[in-house]
Amino acid sequence: MLALIYFIILGVIAVGSALCVLLSKHPLYGALSLVVSMLSLAGIYGLLGSPFIGVVQIMVYAGAIIMLLTFVIMVLNAGRDSKTPRFDKVSLFVIPAAIVLAGLVGFVMVRSGIAFDATTLRGSVKLTSETLFNTAQEGPGYFVLFEVIGLLLLSSMGAAVLMAKKRLGTDNEEEK
């Protein structure tokens, strides 16, 4: 009962801030609403018994990604989107389509009748990390995937640096 109440509160905040993202004019406001949404989702994770994901969610999403976004918006100083309307003709397609899609999927899901399992494990830090770094089990497991993700992050970082740097370099030359 209590869980439900918490869930409703957090859910409303999440949906509401998501709607704020949709409706806000300036991307900076959007980014801030997004943070709120993320935080409330992190709460829901905790509520569901996966605190580790919630923590990661806060650290990575709210802490890193949105910060990055905000910085870029501010650095470019081009966030103001006043010329373009928030919704245009395309939205005529998108909004109904998305709503219908969600409705349909929801309709199907409601009829499918799923329920929480009592024996389900709590996604604690210990359990998660044990599973993640278990090299003894058969097959490659998550460990290799984890390494690959590391590589992906590294390479994406490299790519980002290269792209930004090159452009900066040419700018300098042009100035000369």
Binding site: V90, F93, V94, A97, A98, V100, L101, L104, V105, V108
Partner: protein
């Protein structure tokens, strides 16, 4: 020495070819080239060794010949052929003069090719030619003969185009090869037909003989319609036993087409006059004495088959007669000394085919034998003349050479007497024999005889013209060139003299009217049985009548030649030596015919290139453009707005989900 292996004979020229070829290749980089003495000695050594082994084997040959199977050649299902050699009376006589004359001409060439840049290359080709020719006559199966057959054609191509910087020589060489190829395909198809009729084993001559005799013994549908059977086979691909003989006729025709190609008979004869573009020793060796007679050899080799198919024999006789007559007349019109000899060769080959056509294979081989001597002598003499005149070939610019080059003149005059059939000389005996056999051949015999005699008269006329224009009268060339005229060196003269001896005396091996029949008896084991199959005209005529008529024809022709050209002042020639006007029409008649064929092929090729290929390309283009248009059409959905794309795809997903829900999920 009796058990000298047969494969020694072809081996020597092959080694010669490889060694000389290697020398030619290695020395091609250097400015000076290899030592001519060394190369010359090598190039004579190997043919001489081959000749020596042939002589050795000849003395020890048993009656039935020597057979030796070397190894297996092709062994696949449906087709097994061995490499084997057969040394019998026929191949013996052929080999003797092939290697003998080959050696002589190699000696001659040392003098003739002196100073040429391709000295070693030339002798490599000559040795390769001898190898191929030896394989041709020595093999015991049609397939191996075919190896030699195409091999000599190849060497002919290489040697005609020997001076390959002149594009005309190359064209002549190409023509020779391609025309020969047409004939060769005939040979090839003939072999295929035999394979289909009797399996690949009957490509072997001995097996073929026994196969034919079994068919002959079993009797066959005498009046079967050859043409109908052929077309039946053509479209259905089936062979019933009762059409074996008609099918054999077709095979015989195919082989004969092969022979017309190699031996320059109508219709495949245009290449031989053009082949004179090659060095003169080549003309003597390949295009007079040896290669061109291989067609006659093949007919004699397959005599057992040909006598079973009289239809084809008639065709051969007619073709031989027409060729002999046509070429003799064309010989009258030529001004180039080598061209005269070329047409004369074609004409003489016509004689040989006529003889083969009336199943007188032994006399046709005899004519091959005598012809080899006197025609080689004539060509070598002509070569010596050209050599002494520094390359001049137009007879109208010669004259009076009798005094300046006496030895050459004597050789040529002896050979001339032999070719026109002056009594006692080689050609007299062989030609006389052929005419006699023609007369005796059957109801058409007298007609053939008259045709042959008429041709003999014309032969005497054009050969007389050649001798008169070249050696008698006064010199008609320029003054400067007159000073340089000299007799040929000894290396050239000795072979000529030896051949002249042959031209005089070779005929005495079979002086029929004198009762000497050594040659006939020698060949009897090979062709005797076959010749007995066809009936001969019973009416016996005294051989002296034929001898007398032949002599008269020769004298008459020589008289005409002397009367027309002996005294007349011949204006100094200008321009090309090619015949003009009507003479050209006659001479080049078959070239025109070939030209039509070539034009048709060219036209088809043009059509294919410009229409069929374009249609294919158009179809390709059409498919490509349809794809492109479709692509463009789809791409036009690809509006600038990325978001619209996503929106549309979203709508698509919705539609899909609805469909899935309505149909109750995937099947």
């Amino acid at each position: 020495m009796t058990n000298l292996p047969l494969w020694f004979i072809p081996l020597f020229p092959l080694i010669g070819c490889i060694v000389l070829g290697a020398i030619a290749l290695i020395s091609s980089g250097s400015k000076k080239g290899p030592s001519e003495g060394f190369v010359g000695a090598l190039s004579v050594l190997f043919p001489a060794l081959a000749f020596a082994s042939v002589v050795l084997l000849s003395f020890n040959m048993p009656e039935g010949g020597i057979r030796a199977t070397l190894c297996n050649w092709i062994d696949i299902p449906m087709f097994k052929v061995d490499i084997g050699f057969l040394f019998d009376a026929l191949s013996r006589i052929m080999l003797l003069f092939v290697t003998g004359i080959g050696t002589l001409i190699a000696i001659y060439s040392i003098g003739y090719m002196h100073g040429d840049r391709g000295f070693a290359r030339f002798f490599a080709y000559i040795n390769l030619f001898l190898f191929s020719m030896i394989v041709l006559v020595l093999s015991d199966s049609l397939l191996l003969t075919f190896l030699g057959w195409e091999g000599v054609g190849l060497c002919s191509y290489l040697l005609i185009g020997f001076w390959n910087h002149d594009i005309n020589n190359c064209k002549a060489a190409n023509k020779a090869f391609i025309v020969n190829r047409v004939g060769d395909i005939g040979f090839l198809l003939g072999m295929l037909i035999l394979c289909v009729v009797g399996g690949s084993t009957i490509l072997n001559y001995d097996a073929l003989t026994s196969f034919i005799s079994s068919i002959a013994a079993g009797g066959y549908a005498e009046g079967a319609d050859v043409v109908k059977a052929f077309f039946n086979a053509l479209f259905t691909g089936t062979f019933t036993p009762d059409i074996v003989v008609p099918i054999l006729s077709i095979a015989g025709l195919c082989f004969f087409i092969g022979c017309t190609g190699k031996s320059a008979q109508i219709p495949l004869l245009t290449w031989l006059p053009d082949a004179m573009a090659g060095p003169t020793p080549v003309s003597a060796l390949i295009h007079a004495a040896t290669m061109v007679t291989s067609g006659v050899y093949l007919l004699a080799r397959l005599s057992t088959m040909f006598v079973q198919i009289p239809v084809i024999l008639d065709v051969i006789t007619w073709v031989g007669l027409l060729t002999a007559f046509w070429a003799a007349v064309a010989g009258l019109f030529q001004n180039d000394i080598k061209k005269v000899l070329a047409y004369s060769t074609v004409s003489q080959l016509g004689y040989m085919f006529m003889a083969a056509g009336v199943a007188a294979f032994d006399s046709s081989i005899f004519h091959v034998f005598t012809h080899a001597f006197f025609k080689a002598a004539l060509f070598l003499g002509a070569g010596a003349v050209i050599h002494s005149l520094a390359g001049e070939q137009d007879m109208r610019k010669m004259g009076g050479l009798l005094k300046k080059t006496p030895v050459t003149a004597c050789v040529m005059i002896f050979a001339f007497l032999a070719i026109v059939g002056f009594p006692g000389f080689a050609g007299f005996w062989s030609k006389d024999l052929i005419l006699e056999r023609l007369y005796m051949s059957g109801p058409m015999g007298p007609f053939f005889y008259v045709g042959g005699l008429l041709t003999a008269v014309i032969t005497a006329v054009y050969m007389g013209r050649l001798i008169v224009l070249t050696f008698f009268g006064s010199y008609r060339g320029s003054k400067e060139s007159e000073a340089h005229i000299h007799e040929a060196p000894a290396t050239m003269l000795i072979p000529m003299v030896v051949l002249a001896f042959g031209a005089v005396f070779a005929g005495w091996l079979w002086a029929d009217s004198m009762g000497i029949k050594y040659f006939e008896e020698m060949l009897a084991p090979v062709v005797g049985a076959a010749q007995a199959v066809l009936p001969h005209n019973a009416a016996h005529v005294n051989p002296m009548v034929f001898a007398g008529l032949g002599t008269l024809a020769a004298l008459f022709g020589m008289g005409i030649a002397w009367a027309k050209w002996g005294k007349a002042r011949i204006p100094a020639a200008k321009g090309s030596s090619a015949p003009q006007g009507k003479m050209a029409t006659w001479t080049f008649f078959w070239d025109y015919v070939h030209g039509v064929v070539v034009t048709v092929v060219d036209a088809i090729a043009w059509f294919v290139d410009n229409f069929v290929d374009k249609i294919v390309q158009f179809a390709q283009w059409l498919v490509a453009s349809i794809a492109e248009i479709l692509g463009d059409g789809v791409a036009s959905f690809q509006v600038r707005k990325v978001r619209l794309q996503i929106a549309l795809s979203l709508a698509g997903v919705v539609a899909l989900v609805i469909v899935v829900l309505l149909t109750g999920g995937l099947i």
